[in-house]
Amino acid sequence: MQCNGDSLRNSLRHLWRASALLLVLGATGCATLPPNAGQDPRDPWEKVNRNVFAFNEGLDAAVLKPVAELYAKLPDGVRECFSNAFSNLRGPSTAINNALQGKPDEAVSDVGRFLVNTTFGLVGCFDPATDLGLERHREDFGQTLGVWGFGPGPFVVLPVLGPSSVRDAVGILAVEPFLDLNFYIDYPGVEYSILALRIVNERAELLPADRLISEAALDRYSFIRDGYLQRRRSLVYDGNPPREPETDDGDEAASQKPPAEPAITGPATTGPEQSQSTDPSAKLP
């Protein structure tokens, strides 16, 4: 494994070019737009987003989902091995991000986890680290920016890659590639095969959620967007976000109630993440 800056820059350039093309294709598509599209302060680019979303859904139905369904037929043990190994490739990124977020204990545990699983776990296929009490964490640079006080910014649907926010897109496109071991595999054939398999594996893990979302959502786009934004906020606070201030709860006595106190305390951030969430108009366009 060795870093090859040129090929990395090249693949990034290709990614950008492909994204721009897809963005244009997506934007000229024909997704049905609700009359209030773009009025939600969290989603000013809703019109473009909905088109890219429709494009992604089409691509998914035509290519990714059928492949993932085939993949899901593999024995549980094989899929679990792949899943573990791919998660292991993200180990260094998780460790670095935990360090950047000021969580040295977690970072050390992540390094230990990576070493144990890479060696005794046979390149991450097995997960002996969890049995040793080294818990699996999930950190990326988008979360790190959140911990540093950056709010998510506008919601954005990336072509192919799916729902994101400006903050998280910076992480995914500009920083994460350099922290991901996949990009340091110096044989393009191997590098891209693993990347493709990872995407299929990830999609296969989401298959059970498909039915749930199509049953539960009145508006699929809005359901996925709101779920994404909530989930990411929760991840920034490692699962314990402070309670969002009550918006209009429909109670007659709403104005007479004292403001809801956060039931639990997260890291004390006073950055945009916090100030944005206290905007009472944020949820009621």
Binding site: P34, P35, N36, D40, E80, S83, R136, P208, R211, L212, E215, A216, A217, L218, D219, S222, F223, D226, G227, Q230, R231, R232, R233, S234, L235, G239, P241, R243, E244, T247, D248, D249, G250, D251, E252, A253, Q256, A263, I264, K283, L284, P285
Partner: protein, 211 residues
């Protein structure tokens, strides 16, 4: 203003007393104990019942009806999700909204339950004062292999019994996730428009299940 507030408080306490008398008193279990027992019972039942594992929807529905629904306040859930529109809704509209939202959620939840296999519930640290009437109970649902699923609950104390009024799956609060959708349905077609959308969705799911 102050007078109005105390009058309100007075009326509310009368109403509370009246309904407390009418309802059978549930045992005054702590909310975290309630959630633990509830989830454990459900998971154990699923494990023991082969029909549920093989996807028998009626059986799952029965389990949900008997074990879970008595501890859920669907009206509060619906009110929170509907938000501003709730105030202008008539009692009939409120009843219809609650009924349809409940049908939708029970069905979705039942679908998710039938995918549960050998999961176990783990309680996460619980912090609340004895005097609290609105609490957060945090749990993890852990499969025998693979990653734990964060599952949290918000409960409110009503006449000494605790009722669940919101659920969080993997960091996503259920009520919050419906707010925007409901608001835009209401702004497009009023409260009746939202009732219609929910009813149609439930009916579509009904027919697709029979087909």
């Amino acid at each position: 203003m102050l007078l109005l507030r105390s009058l309100r408080a007075f009326l509310v306490s009368i109403a509370a007393l009246a309904s407390a008398g009418a309802l059978a008193q549930a045992p005054d279990a702590a909310p975290d104990v309630l959630v633990r027992d509830l989830t454990t019972t459900v998971l154990e039942t699923i494990k023991a019942d082969k029909a549920i594992a093989s996807g028998d929807v009626a059986r799952v529905q029965k389990l949900v009806d008997e074990k879970i629904l008595p501890y859920v306040d669907f009206q509060k859930m619906t009110q929170l999700a509907v938000g501003r529109g709730w105030r202008s809704a008539t009692p009939e509209q409120r009843a219809a909204l609650t009924r349809e939202f409940r049908t939708l959620l029970v069905r979705t939840y039942s679908g998710a339950l039938s995918q549960v296999k050998d999961h176990q519930v783990q309680m996460r640290p619980y912090r609340a004062q004895a005097t609290d009437t609105d609490v957060l109970v945090r749990t993890s649902v852990v499969p025998s292999r693979g990653e734990a699923i964060q599952l949290d609950y918000r409960l409110e104390k009503q006449n000494s019994a605790w009722k669940i009024y919101d659920v969080n799956v993997l960091g996503v609060w259920l009520v919050e996730n419906y707010k925007t959708q409901f608001a835009s349905e209401i702004s497009a077609g009023g409260v009746d428009g939202l009732i219609k959308s929910l009813t149609e969705r439930n009916r579509a799911l009904d027919t697709s299940k029979k087909a």
